[in-house]
Amino acid sequence: MGVMKRVSLVFKAKANKALDKMEDPRETLDYAYQRQLENLTRVRRGVADVATSRKRVELQMNQINQQSSKLEDQARKALSMGREDLARSALERKSAAQSQLSGLQEQFVQLQSDEEKLTLYAQQVQAKLDAFRTQKETIKARYTAAEATSRINEAMSGISEDMGDIGMAIQRAEDKTAQLQARAGALDELLASGALDDLTGHRDDIQAELDMMSASSDVESDLRRLRGELASGQAKQLESGANGGQAQGNAQRAQYGQQQDNQQTQPQQPPYQQSAALPVSDLPVSDDVPVSDVEDGTGS
């Protein structure tokens, strides 16, 4: 006997057991109706739970996206300061965050389709239940207990299959929601702790190594890209400097000459303050801070 036939027999056996328990078969109808009403409420709650999970996943995706772009900014900054080690560690975190993101995207799509299916299913159950209520009242009004038995058996075998189906659908939805909530809770904690670089928890060694290799190649390619961006940025600056006209060039040369003179007259000035003095001469002089004060400050 095929699988599908066996499953239907299991359902039928359940229906018969439920019918045997009742003394007056008409009670079975009321009982089944009540049960199915409760089930419908639970299915609707299931739809709401799935929607909540979907929103939570969406929120986490946004958080991780923000985190990723923040980490990329940090890496760019670190690289421009010549701190490749810092840039590398930021990009490693970014790579870990990205791997979380693809898992969440999958979940999001799955939840959307679950929500749609459950909503449709709840509508179907509602329609069936309305039809069942009408039939149940007709049977109760027209037939005595003895006469009603065969009619009730027919209606009951149908509604009982519906009840078994809906019961399983509810169970599946609840199990899935509980699982997702646990995962989402864990990820929330992870996001809060900021430890997105430590995600290779429960995986086998080979997978961990593969992940590490792909993560490090991600990091390398990110580093190359950022270096490229920086280099082209500098090239543009140089270009605009060269095209800036001779007047500007002369002005700059005059400024540098002056600063060199200053350095010559103040040989005791520590080297790190020389570089600090460069931008000061370019800054607009504000009214409340006399230039001499600034220069005294840097010189002392």
């Binding site: 095929g2 699988v3 599908m4 036939k5 066996r6 499953v7 239907s8 299991v10 359902f11 039928k12 056996a13 359940k14 229906a15 057991k17 439920a18 299916k117 299913y121 179907q124 329609a127 069936k128 309305d130 039809a131 069942f132 039939q135 027919e154 209606a155 075998s157 149908g158 509604i159 009982s160 299959e161 009840m163 078994g164 189906d165 019961g167 399983m168 659908a169 169970q171 599946r172």
Partner: protein, 92 residues
Amino acid sequence: MIVRILGEGQFKMDDEASAVLDKLDSELEAAIDHGDEPAFSAALSTLLAHVREHGEPVSAEHLGPSELILPHEGSSIDEVRKMLADEGLITG
């Protein structure tokens, strides 16, 4: 013949479409017997697609049992085995 897909509802199928179900069902059964999860999920997907494509959704007014019942989309072998063993999965 009326066929139910768990979690989706009942479908009415003509004899021609029902005949194909038998062949697909034996593939499903073989996959369960061998514990072959990929073969199982492929056979189940094909079965479900066939019923959805060739079956006519049964109206809400119809209150009757189904001759054949198909597991939920995405079911695992383990779930189906439990269902067949009737380990309290089906609420009565």
